[in-house]
Amino acid sequence: RSDPQNPFIFKSNKFQTLFENENGHIRLLQKFDQRSKIFENLQNYRLLEYKSKPHTIFLPQHTDADYILVVLSGKAILTVLKPDDRNSFNLERGDTIKLPAGTIAYLVNRDDNEELRVLDLAIPVNRPGQLQSFLLSGNQNQQNYLSGFSKNILEASFNTDYEEIEKVLLEEHEKETQHRRSLKDKRQQSQEENVIVKLSRGQIEELSKNAKSTSKKSVSSESEPFNLRSRGPIYSNEFGKFFEITPEKNPQLQDLDIFVNSVEIKEGSLLLPHYNSRAIVIVTVNEGKGDFELVGQRNENQQEQRKEDDEEEEQGEEEINKQVQNYKAKLSSGDVFVIPAGHPVAVKASSNLDLLGFGINAENNQRNFLAGDEDNVISQIQRPVKELAFPGSAQEVDRILENQKQSHFADAQPQQRERGSRETRDRLSSV
């Protein structure tokens, strides 16, 4: 039963399209704190998804936000400009790079067949949760931002006649025919009409000439991309793998205090129940299907409900006030869920599941598992306290804890009692 009140899940339709044409799209997830007060601390974090067809380019622009860019699938060339320098990088699935706020960059899909999908965590610098892009390329409705300057300033700045400047830098290109229809709704959407355009094979080859790959570790890692899977997984077994780059390991993530992780859960497997000690994690489902369960406390949500819901519901709500609550959701590709710090969570894969997580408040975060052999915080409780805390004796508790031989990931089907578990599984799948 997926809870309609589950504030922790953002289905993929909660992404709002900022721009779309035949070459690709840019979509922005609803503000986290708009959904629920629970996410007040995520106020200044936004999630963006880019998708583009083969042989296309996102034209140069800069944004008033720090970005952490991760390639979900496909092959890209990312070019990052500095006042006196330029760096191009070949990016592949799992490659991650920080783009500091205000950096002008452009992104090419260099593959012949595959679509490029990129996920950005944006941390705005000007206004909490608000981002603005500044385009260097001109188009029909919104010219490039240079044209925002007055004639005088431009002439003086470039020491050139305005006509010349206009012709060379500002003038709009003639639009292709299919763009003409969008003239009608110009204010709305077409502002960024030319954000993604086609590239010829020749152009791509020229751009790839200077591009570096992440594998080379020669250059200082300060601004180089890194791959999430370049270091060994922190947890790994036959049921799944957990890769994580923490601020401690990577200087780029340090000042933002963010970790990035990639979790692969095999079909029919389970990421064992655990909680993050201090990080709030924003997880995007890259591929696959599954279920997640999160344990929260009922009253967390209540304040809003009290306002919004009618009185009947309110009463029912309060009766079970302050109890733990199970929040469940089915996961499919493109969904996003948020795991607040301290909240226990478990994820089950019904098909091979690939998750990408951004953790806010990442430094010194610890993952405390509640089941499994290693990193199991419950097994650290001293025996006398085990007896006090649980109804069973310390021996019984220890025996239960030892039943699960796996760590971190395990079979979603308990092996001990096939019969009992099948029963419960049926119930779940019937939902």
């Binding site: 289905k11 129940p273 239960i400 308990p414």
Partner: protein, 543 residues
């Protein structure tokens, strides 16, 4: 396929999603108003409820004693007032209880007229939180957990304290606060008693013997439990709480079996797969609620509260012995201090003379635990009849808790600071003196830059948490050392004060003591009498 959500099955949710989208446009970047609205709503609820309780309030004007069961009850009801009034049975019970307490109060009250001052005092002094501003979160015969009102809710002056909360624990001898974790960083200080604190990490466990003054940071999400190991003394602990998920809000996740146990939150089949065990066994060994002890039965009626019945339970002497075995003491300095507790009094006092002592742990002083939180912890002892000389903190905002003793505090602010909220018309920058009579359990906020002086009418023990602690300086305004006024150059002294620089210097030198001094000036008994009189006349007005 990104556009396909499985939500289509739930049309209501679709609708909701659309509404949210609309809202997003309307309230573009304006989270503040809605936040205020929420506060407002809460406030309203409270008042609605308080109206019901008004009668009772009138008969109990002063409520400043540290322990007063009726009070705790009342405050606690205030806290959950809105949900209780729905239930008619509960209301009847409530009325009954009100009447009963009212009767009790009338008897009790007669001799305690002096306490009446506190309400009006609070009204006029936003910096003082009397001990009754702690709300009881949990209580049973073994102890209680109480949390102070939000600072920023009292006054806009404390906006920067929005994400700091104060929690007080008290436990009877031979009891334990069962394992739990909280989504907040904690700085724990033992006010009184002897404890064993056990802190768990995924692969490790550390137990510490804690005594009065021992301080430890418990990082957010750390599962821990706390035992009162003493045979006689109550354990009193205060936590300074810095939430990580939501500003000023935190939740405790209990691991032990009671209604609030978070393991219950997982579905049967996740639990079975995770523990690789049949659900019946899991339920029996980990989840089932134990039969309640008889004295807890009476709590049954308080259904709302019942789920935390077992947060504090009794421990046998043998169990304590076993837990004590591995516990380390804070005095041993062998281990890395990253997570070890430290005692506030382990270093020599910052200031000390026969009138008082100030101990302080700052982020700079090799306490990495306090560094990332940028917090200082101080402990002030002012002997009876002594005065901590007027001073201000350069940049720290200090939350000061009265641990023991009584005294008076004077804090200087500017008149319009507060008026901004109420009345903007009268714009005067007049200095305003805020006075408070301190008794155990009271909390005072001392904003940065605001001069303060504290006198002790009985031996006074104060505990301070300072926010924004790094590079904080205490500037004294009188006394021999650390006196910032004596640093003013002579020509400027003449310009600043009406007297000549010689006169000013002479006056400054009159106070031979530093930091702490006698509250009774020795030099001119007569003059001081005069000076004192306005103070006492203000106090008199409260009686």
């Amino acid at each position: 396929n990104y556009d396909e959500g499985s939500e289509t099955r739930v049309p209501g949710q679709r609708e909701r999603g659309r509404q949210e989208g609309e809202k997003e446009e309307k309230r573009h970047g304006e989270w503040r108003p809605s936040y205020e609205k929420e506060e407002h709503e809460e406030e309203k609820q409270k008042y609605r409820y308080q109206r019901e309780k008004k009668e009772q309030k009138e008969v109990q004007p002063g409520r400043e004693r540290w322990e007063r069961e009726e009070d705790e009850e009342q405050v606690e009801e205030e806290w959950r007032g809105s949900q209780r009034r729905e239930d008619p049975e509960e209301r009847a019970r409530l009325r009954h209880r009100e009447e009963r307490t009212k009767r009790d109060r009338r008897h009790q009250r007669e001799g305690e007229e002096e306490e009446r001052s506190s309400e009006s005092q609070e009204h006029r002094n936003p910096f003082l939180f009397k001990s009754n501003k702690f709300l009881t979160l949990f209580e049973n015969e073994n102890g209680h957990i109480r949390r102070l009102q939000r600072f920023d809710k009292r006054s806009d002056l404390f906006e920067n304290l929005q994400n700091y909360r104060l929690v007080e624990y008290r436990a009877k001898p031979h009891t334990i606060f069962l394992p739990q974790h909280i989504d907040a960083d904690l700085i724990l200080v033992v006010l009184n008693g002897k404890a064993i604190l056990t802190v768990l990490s995924p692969n490790d466990r550390n137990s510490y013997n804690l005594e009065r003054g021992d301080t430890i940071k418990i990082p957010a999400g750390t599962t821990s439990y706390l035992v009162n190991q003493d045979d006689e003394e109550d354990l009193r602990v205060v936590d300074f709480v810095i939430p990580v998920n939501r500003p000023g809000k935190f939740e405790a996740f209990g691991l032990s079996e009671n209604k609030n146990q978070y393991l219950r939150g997982f579905s049967k089949n996740i639990l079975e797969a995770s523990l690789n065990t049949k659900y019946e066994t899991i339920e029996k060994v980990l989840l089932e609620e134990q039969e309640k002890k008889p004295q807890q039965l009476r709590d049954r009626k308080r259904t709302q509260q019942g789920e935390e019945r077992d947060a504090i339970i009794k421990v046998s002497r043998e169990q304590i012995e076993e837990l004590r075995k591995l516990a380390k003491s804070s005095s041993k300095k062998s281990l890395p201090s990253e997570f070890e507790p430290f005692n506030l009094r382990s270093h020599k006092p910052e200031y000390s003379n026969k009138f008082g002592k100030l101990f302080e742990i700052t982020p700079e002083k090799k306490y990495p635990q306090l560094q990332d939180l940028d917090i200082l912890v101080s402990c002030v002892e002012i002997n009876k009849g002594a005065l901590m000389l007027p001073h201000y903190n350069s940049r720290a905002i200090v939350v000061l808790l009265v641990n023991e003793g009584k005294g008076n505090l004077e804090l200087l602010g500017l008149k319009n600071e507060q008026q901004e909220r109420e009345d903007r018309k009268e714009r005067n920058n007049e200095v305003q003196r805020y006075e408070a009579r301190l008794s155990p359990g009271d909390v005072v906020i001392i904003p940065a830059g605001h001069p303060v002086a504290i006198s002790a009418s009985s031996n006074l023990n104060l505990l301070g948490f300072g926010i924004n602690a790094k590079n904080n300086q205490r500037n004294f305004l009188s006394g021999s050392d650390d006196n910032v006024i004596s640093q003013i150059e002579n020509p400027v002294k003449e310009l600043t004060f009406p007297g000549s620089s010689q006169e000013v210097n002479r006056l400054i030198k009159n106070q031979k003591q530093s930091h702490f001094a006698s509250a009774e000036p020795e030099q001119k008994e007569e003059e001081s009498q005069r000076k004192r009189s306005p103070l006492s006349s203000v106090l008199d007005s409260f009686y």
